[in-house]
Amino acid sequence: MVTGTQFRVFASALLLGLMAAFMSPVSAQQQPDSVNPTQQSVKEQQLLKELSRIQGRTSLPDSKTGTLEQPAGRDWRQFQQVTLRWIGAIAILGMLATLVLFFLIRGMIRIEAGRSGYTLVRFNAFERFVHWMTATCFIVLALSGLNITFGKELLLPLIGTQTFATFSQWAKYAHNYLSFPFTLGVALMLLMWIAWNFPSGVDFRWIREGGGIVGSKHPPARRFNAGQKAIYWVVVLGGGAAAVTGYLLMFPFYATDIAGMQTAQMVHGIVGLIFMAIMLAHIYIGTIGMQGAFEAMGKGEVDVNWARQHHSLWLEKEAQKGRVPGGSVAPAE
């Protein structure tokens, strides 16, 4: 059943084949005895030497499956299991030890002139709401984060594998979902307090005189002193970095590949642990470290004498605006 056309095609193909065979007799004779197809092929050892990862193509619709090998996972494991734990332990335990030592030496910083009985507004209701929303989220985020890094060493032996896994599952949900109000809180703090948090000349004197924390001087300060400004920028920048890297991990492959996620986790871990250590100092000075400090964020009003001791320039300005009860304000001694 061969038609004329098919025969012609077949015949010309045969003819071409014969011509090719006769025209290159030399290469046919030079065929080596043993063939080594690997001579120019890719070799694993060589690829691993040249590249940090071996990438190829698969016929699966998911292009990510094209990564054949990424030995970097081994390095990330080393960071995760050793380096990060050392960073966390040193930062958090070091800070706790410093604070305990400081409290034993310095004790609570008192209002030297005693309470005046007059108060003025330091943080309004909205500011306090934002602060406590962020703070509550931060504590849950910090504890669930610590659980991921240290839980299996510290908590698992106490409560058993099954209970620990269930707890960790809920802790992970809390960590993921509370990141949203936390990020909102950080963003609001950035906007509502940035005007008072740019460094100024007063800050240099404050730092030089140890902020009155070390030593007995009372350097003048505006609404926020240099230490508080530092806390502000730690929260805004650290919280921002933690949020960005956290979302990269929460939405895998939206913006990063696996190497990006490894880096994001490293940044997230380091920032988170150092953030926690710094917040311990913030909590200390806002509670047992200083008399009259907690009420600023608690009921929102502080004693006039507290303000004079710690924020003299702010108090003067508030007095000029007529916001300070109890009449005119004597200059700080």
Binding site: P37, E44, L48, E69, Q80
Partner: protein, 206 residues
């Protein structure tokens, strides 16, 4: 006890993807998850090689080391398995794995990735051998179990058993390394035992 390993002889792999299909069928792996895949390096260029890759069941497995809830365990045969009951879907094993083995049924759903799934070396999971609980079903599109337990039946992983060119080898590490060595000596070339250096910290000297 045998130390089970995989070895893919890339000079024999023809990228037919039968191992991928066999794995999906044997274990009823849901859509979107591929426990095994064939990767072609330098595709379409002279010297291209295809490698069938899945969990390599590493020695001192990094996934197990980084897991925050210790859901991994290594069987007496050296197979690295995990408990979906304990897994919290955090994604850490997936960052640490050099071979992209761990996968999740849900991707990026506010961090709820679901329970991790990976190659089990056709050795099931922590539930009792050859039970429906071990095999699992597809509740809400998620694969609750681990699939087949061929090892309990005295069989090797299906991907390797049905490989038509015998490129993919599964079995005791020393035996499959010996088979590979003999092949390489006879034919005179090799592009390497892909993944062995990374997974087992050893090279097959030929």
């Amino acid at each position: 006890m045998a130390r089970m390993k995989f070895l893919c002889d890339a000079d024999r792999c023809i990228e037919c993807n039968a191992c991928v299909t066999a794995c999906k069928n044997e274990n009823d792996v849901p859509w979107g998850i591929n426990r095994r895949r064939v990767v072609t390096i330098n595709d379409g260029k002279p010297g291209e090689r295809s490698v069938s890759m899945a969990c390599m069941h590493c020695t001192d497995a990094p996934c197990a080391a980084v897991c925050p809830v210790n859901c991994f365990y290594t069987t007496a045969d050296g197979v690295v398995l995990h408990s979906k009951d304990l897994c919290i879907g955090c994604g850490y094993c997936f960052y640490a794995c050099p071979f992209g083995a761990p996968q999740y049924p849900k991707v990026g759903n506010f961090g709820s990735r679901g329970k991790m799934d990976k190659c089990t070396y056709c050795a099931g999971g922590p539930e009792a051998d050859l039970t429906p609980a071990e095999y699992g079903n597809r509740e809400n599109g998620q694969f609750t179990g681990y699939g087949s337990n061929r090892l309990a039946e005295g069989k090797l992983p299906l991907c390797a058993e049905m490989c038509s060119t015998k490129s993919l080898l599964a079995g005791d590490g020393e035996i499959i390394a010996q088979i590979f060595k003999e092949r390489v000596v006879r034919r005179g070339y090799s592009s390497g035992a892909w993944g062995w250096q990374t997974a087992y910290r050893e090279r097959i000297e030929t």
